[in-house]
Structure formats: C-alpha cells, structure tokens
Amino acid sequence: MADLSNNDEAVAAAIEAPVAAGEPILQVRNLQKHFPLTQGILFKKQVGAVKAVDGVSFDLFQGETLGIVGESGCGKSTVAKLLMNLERATAGEVFYKGQDITKLSGRALKAVRRNIQMVFQDPYTSLNPRMTVGDIIGEPFDIHPEVAPKGDRRRKVQELLDVVGLNPEYINRYPHQFSGGQRQRIGIARGLALNPEIIICDEPVSALDVSVQAQVINLMGKLQDEFNLSYIFIAHDLSIVRHISDRVGVMYLGKMAEIGTDEQIYEHPTHPYTQALLSAVPVPDPEARAHRERIILTGDVPSPANPPSGCSFRTRCWKAQEKCSQEVPVLAIPQRFQGQDIPAAHSSACHFAEEKQVVPVS
C-alpha cells in the first residue's frame, strides 16, 4: 500500500513539474475506444463493438492549437472525452508530461484533471440553471481548494469574469440572464478557473450567432497568449479551425486520415477525404461559384460498428482500388513524398496520396 501511494506522489510531482522544452505536453498513441454492442437481457453477450475511436495518434505542444475536424460520428468528441479521462480507453495511451493518464486513478488523476480542462459545445445545457454564475465558476475550487483558499474565492471568480470580458458584478446572476455568447464566456471562465495547461474545446462556437462567434474566437486567442495555453479545438467549421489552429488533424470513422500544419492540410491536402471535405465548404464569394471544382461524395459515412475492410474511406473514394480493401493504410508521410522538403510531405493515411488543389487561392 505504502508503495502505491509513493508512486502516486511521484506521478503527481511529475505532473506539477513544467514540461521539458521541445517535448510535447500531450502524446496520444494508438488510442482506441470500442463501445460494446450486447444482445440479450439477462445473459448479455457481446455481439460486436462500435469502434468510435480506432487507433488515433498525435502530439500536442505547449502553447499550440491543434484543430480536429471531421463529419459527425467520426469520433472527434469521443477523443475529447478520452483525453479528459471521462471515458476509459479500450487500448492505447495518452501521455501527459510523460505519464500515461489512461491508467491513473486517485490523487494523480485529480492532479491531471486540474491541468486539462474542457469547454463544451452547448452553452445552454452545459451550465446548471439553478446555480449562480459565481457558483458555477467557483465550483472547481471545491474540488481543488489548493488553487484558491476559501476566503479568496469570490475575488478570484470576479477576476475570471473580468478576464473573459464579463462584468464582475454579474457574479450573482443565473445563466438564463445571459445570451449565448455570454454563456460561452462563462463556460470558458470555468475552464480557466484552475489555471490549466490544456483546454479541450468541443465545438465551442458552433451554437453561436455569426457576429458573436468572432468575439469568442478572439477571446480564446487572447487567453492563449496570456496564459500560454494549449488548445485542442474540435469543430466542423473548417474556416474557423484554420484561423485558430497551428496544426490540423482530419478524422474519418475513428481514424486520423491526415494531419499536418494548417498550410499543409488546407493548401496541399493529399488524402482524398480531406480534399472532398475542403471542396464541399461553401466559399463566401459568389465569384468563385462558377470556377470551383467540387467533389461531391456519394452516400453516407459507414457504420462504425461495421467499418469497411482495409481503408475505411474506400466505399466513398473515387480512387479506391483492390489494394484499398485489403490493406489498412498507415498514417505516415507517403512514400513518394518522403525525404522531400515540400508541403505535401506530411502524414496522410492513403495508399494513393497525391496533391490536389481544392481551395481557390485568391
């Protein structure tokens, strides 16, 4: 027993320590989450699994924003939950400062959770309507009293309100007295309360009006500079992801299809799915209407309970060949681009990766 708690202390100490220079703050390796499908009422037997996340790997560095895009059902939100340790991973590791957090529990897990916080999509349902704003933002301090001593909390909450651009006098108001954009600011303030190092944002602006979206995006950029935060920014709006992200990962059916810097992904995509996704985004410029090539994918995303063999995108891909149904493509720099110093040389999980310009360059 004593041994175990000692180990706990050591992990907790490692988590409190600053991240070594040049090392990623978060390393995700072959992360998997399979939800079992069962049959029968009394004697449940497993008949299959929904492979929501099926082998995802990426790194996140300090002060950087990693955007994750993909259609609904591709597993982006499950990845967020796994990183928060809200769901237990089926397999794979998430290293936070070198510690695998998927296996942690007790004190060490609590310490990790303090440093990784989340901002949710819907500011209408993610705030408790019966709690005042002060209680909502101050609640994290009940669990981690070391951050703010009891007498100091009110001041701390008011400070946070000020940081996110709300009037500190609103501390006794209830969520329904705020508009959508203001509520999302409250959600961000709650995420900031414990001085985390990583904030996972799951569609933070998609429920907001266009004119308010820009305000919240600007706020998030400002906070990142101020507190040296790392963001994982999950969204389906590709232009907003490009604006805020340093690197972008494209997910399809529980797997990472392509990952690279924003320029590599948006201007030199090599995976057919990324190309189709980018070409489907409506461009707010009527002049582009005529001379814009669009790749319209046919059909729907296959069920993650029964994904196609080989490459999971092959059922909708116009390049699919025999090889695609037999071999699962690995996420790596494609052979033909290896060793070359060109933007197309980034990780892409396609057997026939090739560059294709899809976004009109103005």
Partner: protein, 351 residues
C-alpha cells in the same frame, strides 16, 4: 412508367394570367403579445420572389427571418402572434385576407416549406412512406396504395437509394442527410410554385450539405420554382442565391443582388458580417467582431436598431429610423435591386 412522369410531361400552367412577382411581401408586421410586453418580431418587411429565382434571407437568430416565413406559410401561432398590418400577395392575391379554407388549398400545393430539423419535423411513429403519401391522400384524395407508389417515386426523385425497400422505414432509421431529403421530397410532392427552406442544411455536415444544396438547386431548375432560402451561413448564400435580403431586428437593412452585396455592402451590419469571416491573409490576427449583442425584441433601440453596435453611428441614428432607400452609384447612376436602410449608406458603400 409512372404517374409523376405523366404529370411532369404536361407542365402545370405556371404563372397563370398573373404577371409580376410570384410572391410579394408588403410592409409586413408581426408581433407577439407576451406577459412581459409586446415583442415586435417583424417591423415592415418588403420582399418579392419570381418564379425560378432564389432569394436568400440572411440574419441572426431573433432577426425575424423565420417568423416572416411562418407568416407567409400561415403557420404562425396566433395567438400569441398577431399580424397588425401588411400584405402577403401570392400571384397578386392577398393571402392574409383569404379564408382558412382557401389558404389550405395554397399551403403545400402552391407554397411548401422545408424545415431545419428533419428529425423533429417528421412524425417518429409513422413510416416515411405514409407521411409522404399523406400529401397525395389529403390533397388529391388518392388511395393508400397509389399514394405509396407515388411516395416511392418521390424518394427516387430525391435520390434515396433503394427507395422501394426503405419506404416502410421510420424516420430514425435514416441518416440526417437522408431525412432532409425526405423533407425535400415532401415539400416537392405537389410540385409547388414556391418553396421556403428554413435553414435546410444547418444541422448537416458540409459534405452532406453540398449534396442537399445540389439536389435542391437541380429540382428548382427542373420545376422552375421560386425559392426563399433562410440562413445565417454566408457561404451557402454565396453559392446559391440570386438576390439577398439582410434582416436585423425585424427589418430588412439591405437588399442586393448576390455579387453586388459581397463586393461592396451598403450597410454597416452587412459589412460587419462579411468582415467577421475568417480570411486566409488574416491568420493569427484578431477577427473583426461586431461588438455587443443582437437587441432584445421587447426593447428595440430607438432610431436605427443597429446603432448601439454600429461603428458609424451618429446622433441621427439614435433618433430617426432609416428608411430602406435605393442605393445609387457615386454619380447617381441606378443600381438595380439595391436598397439600404442606413443614414450613411453613401459613406458605407463609396467611402
């Protein structure tokens, strides 16, 4: 081969003897009487749509774009809603003066609507074939069997694979994109002259959105329908619209053909919306953001409703409501179809 093909071969007498726009909304007002006071959702909206034309109504939530559409369809909850003044002319006839019986004949048959959320707009306990066939049974008095045949044809029309096998499926068995196709099929069933699409793709992924918008455009061309597209997505509007009406706090603040509007907006609100789109050359910089919040409809600001958020606001904006006036070139030359409700439209477009 099919009943639909036969009817399609003899095009319905579109337009009739009426010349002029298909639908014309004139000075429409809608208000809601609530316990907290009167919420003025629509304050004098004017717009028109011709056959084969796409009008995009752009606005944030609470701008009155959906309420206007509901008033046109005649599905506004009254009470608490009330239409104190205004006209909605369909082929020159004021629908607001018609009897409920006459309106029923237009609704679905002449004007149909596509809603945003297909899952909550379809009845979960009836199969889609029954719901599609209902249009034919109710409006044309068709038998159940014939109606089902027509339902299958419609599903084929909107490119739902294996329509015959899926006609007895329930809405939850379809994906979001397929459900929206069923909504479109339902709206198209009686080959209406005008379709109102209220955020038809907002709940869909971009790849599916592209499929659905393509389908809608194709069908619109085939039937030469008028389309009112209600949305807040500036990208979708640029892709499909012919002309645009921008709404703010229950008023139209700017009207323009699509190319003109994106090139040089004549209202500070439109300009703000366009500037807040993330652009490539601005990466890493702050996005332009319209400050403040959309107004509370119970307490619309005096004068121009946009004045508390407007960078150009002056004293006159706080006292006088700007009228929707024609916009001209610097030298006074006409700009057909362009209107702006701003005291300083000249500075906005030319300055």
């Amino acid at each position: 081969m099919s009943i639909i093909d036969k009817t399609a071969a003899v095009p319905a007498p579109r337009g009739g003897d009426h010349t002029g726009p298909l639908l014309e909304v004139k000075d429409l007002h809608v208000e809601f009487h609530t316990r907290d006071g009167v919420a003025k959702a629509v304050n004098g909206v004017n717009y028109s749509v011709n056959a084969g034309e796409t009008l995009a109504v752009l606005g944030e939530s609470g701008s009155g774009k959906s309420v206007t559409a509901q008033a046109i369809m005649g599905i506004l909850d009254m009470p608490p809603g009330k239409i104190p003044q205004g006209e909605i002319l369909f082929r020159g006839e004021d629908m607001l003066k018609m009897s409920e019986e006459e309106r029923r004949k237009i609704r679905g048959r002449k004007i149909a609507m596509i809603f945003q959320d297909a899952l909550s707009s379809l009845n979960p306990v009836l199969n889609v074939g029954y719901q599609l066939g209902e249009m034919f049974r109710v409006h044309h008095g068709m038998s159940k069997k014939d109606a089902k045949v027509k339902a299958i044809e419609l599903m084929d029309k909107v490119k739902i694979p294996a329509a015959k096998a899926r006609v007895d499926d329930y809405p939850h068995q379809f994906s979001g994109g397929m459900r929206q196709r069923i909504m479109i099929a339902m709206a198209l069933a009686l080959e209406p002259d005008l379709i109102i699409a209220d955020e038809p793709t907002t709940a869909l992924d971009v790849t599916v959105q592209a499929q659905v918008m393509d389908l809608l455009a194709e069908l619109q061309q085939e039937y030469n329908m008028g389309l009112i597209l209600i949305t807040h997505d500036l990208g979708v509007v640029a892709d499909v619209a012919d002309k645009i009406a921008v709404m703010y706090a229950g008023r139209i603040v700017e009207q323009a053909p699509v190319h003109e509007l994106y090139k040089r907006p004549a209202h500070p609100y439109t300009r703000g919306l366009l500037d807040s789109i993330p652009r490539l050359d601005q990466k890493g910089q702050e996005l332009y953001a319209i400050k403040g919040l959309p107004p509370n409809l119970l307490k619309v600001p005096t004068g121009c409703a946009f004045n508390p958020r407007c960078p150009k606001a002056d004293d006159i904006c706080r006292t006088e409501i700007p009228a929707l006036v024609p916009v001209t070139e610097q030298d006074g030359a006409d700009l057909p179809g362009r209107k702006s409700a701003c005291h300083f439209w000249k500075e906005t477009i030319h300055g």
